[in-house]
Symmetry: C2
Subunit: 438 residues, 2 copies
């Protein structure tokens, strides 16, 4: 029989699923509900042999009685009746790393949704997978149900990738859009998000930009054929984004997003995660709430935009199944699209690509104050595209001033921001945000 018509007579692909949280139970649910669909699309049945989770007694609203139980994911990974180890435990160290390593060493294929593990130990695991003739797949690790890994490794194979951008943390995007829509300060919305259960146990993972940066490091590796290097991502979270900036940016036609950008430049690989302004009417600017978006630019394809749910049971489990079906079909790809040994160690580069910047400062009510500010910018080689001075507000004797610069370098901006307080006409610290061209 050919690969195309083995159908359900073929031997089943046998899974061991470790971790039965939202994504794990979602994965079990799809396999139970869509057994026939999966068998047809995979050209063989997809079956669960065994599962593992921290608490066997927890009620999960899926029937696990047909599967063997293992308390230890490492034991699950080594079972004879497991062809593919599905790691949905999470965390870049400890049991997830140990179980994935054990599975690969035992010659098992691995599917995981673990962005931290891939961003930090991806190179080591990809090498281990290749040394053992295994595949390591992780579509669910980046942007939930959006097929970004497959698009980059396969659909854009004929392209040199120029830039990858993404809004990849739904919680941050929820907070930023909620601040804008309800006119609420960061602290209030952060507290709301916590009460709604949108935040990780350690909220820094979300609002500190760490989670999104894990995803960016994975995308950068695939896009540029380099080793994933999470350590080299310049990270800034959304904590310093004020409702004032959101309002002022909106006045100027922009929205503020926690935007990840990776691009290869003459100096090296830039990877940064930071609050940026984007045009309000661009696809990224239009993105509301918890939805994710990835923008990929290739030399032939131009700009491709992918949008969808970045988290949640269904979308993430959908991505896990995409990897499982691919393995069931016998498709074997290197983890990051190229053989791991061929991935270059990237030269990390601080952002040097010029951009327009948004600057907000509080100008004191002194004669010649604005001239002094303009002069500092001019000395730094920065020219002004648009400027707005608002009436005196809140603090007496202080007027908010907004500046949108022409394209300039991050160095010039740093230089100007450092020099501005020395003018003696500024109250408090000036705020600067990059305006990413999208």
């Amino acid at each position: 029989m050919t690969a195309q018509n083995k159908g359900q007579d073929a031997s089943p692909l046998r899974l061991g699923i470790a971790g039965l949280g939202t994504v794990g139970t979602g994965t079990v649910r799809i396999i139970q509900n869509h057994a026939a669909l999966l068998a047809t699309r995979s050209d063989r049945p997809v079956a669960i042999s065994a599962v593992s989770a921290r608490d066997r007694m927890k009620n999960r609203a899926v029937d696990l009685s047909a599967y063997a139980w293992e308390d230890d994911p490492r034991a699950l990974a080594l079972r004879e009746d497991v062809d593919v180890f599905v790691e949905l435990v999470g965390g870049d160290e400890g049991v997830a790393r140990e179980a994935v390593t054990a599975a690969l060493k035992a010659g098992k294929d691995v599917v995981t949704a673990n962005k931290a593990l891939l961003a930090i130990h991806g190179q080591e695991l990809a090498e281990l997978a290749e040394a053992n003739g295994c595949v390591l797949r992780f579509e669910a690790a980046v942007a939930g149900g959006i097929p970004v890994i497959k698009t980059m490794t396969e659909s854009l194979a004929g392209n040199e990738i120029r830039r990858v951008m993404g809004v990849m943390n739904g919680t941050c995007n929820y907070i930023l859009t909620r601040m804008e829509n309800a006119g609420l300060p960061y602290e209030t919305v952060f507290e709301e998000a916590r009460q709604l259960g949108y935040l990780e146990a350690d909220p820094t993972l979300d609002v500190g930009g760490i989670d999104a940066s894990h995803k960016l490091a994975i995308l950068a590796a695939i896009a540029f054929g380099t080793r994933p290097t999470f350590d080299a991502v310049e990270i800034e979270g959304i904590e310093r984004v004020s409702i004032d900036d959101i309002r002022r940016a909106a006045d100027m036609g922009y929205r503020i997003k926690l935007l990840g950008v990776a691009q290869m430049t003459g100096r090296g690989l830039e990877q940064r995660m930071s609050p940026c302004l984007v045009p309000a009417d661009s696809p990224l600017g239009q993105l509301q709430g918890g939805t994710n978006m990835v923008v990929i630019e290739g030399d032939s394809v131009g700009q491709i935009v992918l949008r969808g749910a970045g988290a949640g049971e269904g979308p993430t489990a959908s991505a896990v199944l995409s990897d499982i079906v691919e393995i069931a079909r016998g498709v074997r790809m290197p983890a990051f699209g190229l053989p791991a040994s061929g991935l270059a160690l990237p030269q990390p580069a601080r952002t040097a690509v010029p951009a327009a910047y948004y600057i907000r400062l509080a100008l004191t009510d002194k004669p010649g104050a604005l001239a002094k500010v303009a002069s500092v910018l001019g000395d730094a080689g920065i020219s002004i595209d648009r400027m707005r001075q608002y009436g005196h507000q809140q603090t007496a004797g202080v007027a908010p001033v907004l500046i949108v610069t022409h394209k300039t370098t991050p160095e010039a901006i740093d230089h100007a921001i450092e020099a501005l307080p020395g003018t003696g006409v500024i109250a408090g610290d000036p705020v600067e945000l990059r305006i990413e061209e999208v």
Copy 2:
């Protein structure tokens, strides 16, 4: 050596490229410019053996001297030194169909960008491919560089697809957005588009919705596991979209798009291509100019939106290369994602899914006129969500009235539209457009 590290030592994948128009030369250009990239990503070199086109003497700005030349694509398809026949000739009959058939019969894999061929003869070709152990790939046939075929067949393999929608003809979207932005009537913008070379030789393919319907028929087949049945697409082009409707729709917060929708209902498979209203702030509503967008809804993944250039040398050639690299890697998928023999003959169903509708009519200046209109709608079981009567304009004694209905059935709308002239208070024919929920 394993499949993952044959590298450039492996035997090259040898292509025969038929058709050297925009997409053909674009494909040659990528293969020439990115030879090393393609070899690494394919795990073997990708080489062109021979090419074919109508006019050998035409200057194409790519160097073809290293390739054998065939005047006849059918001869090209049969060459010993061709592993993959790349059909970029176009047209659903004649040489394209004959050459693809010849290639498959000779056991050659086929990559094509030919939407008409697939929409009309896809079933026959998919069966032929399977009977001969060949693959037939056509990522470039739908929405240019947007990886919609791969997303549906592979990334969403764990989903039951609920609905597929798309704006897939860039020329129509250019015309509609240009009408809105410049306030110009259809005829003027149509003429502009012709002069800019945006229209096919037979413009009905574009503005009549045929080209977009070819693409929809392909997507419907993949989404619902059915045979492609272009004949069953309900098609309406954009010729009757007036600048009045575009303006009025905008007043109510909508944009008009030539939207393809495929969904499986209790009655059968609905496939329709027609001008629809969509919310102006939705991703589909935001789509300007020649860009394409495909929206896929799956039971687990929710809604995925894919956006990018739907035509042009680079984007379309990028999709062709995606298929070529996949074949080079040894990935062998059935044409429409499932074995061709298993594709069901769909029960075609006229659109029955309820929706809100937009109705525009010219009301004559008679007492009780509006009451008569409301009464016809009421008799048809249609309730009104919003209504606007504008002041008398242009034609004396006639006032434009806009109605947005609550959700109702297409049958009820047909019934009402038929009955409205009988009231004697309407000048001309009423216009109705579906408001698709997106």
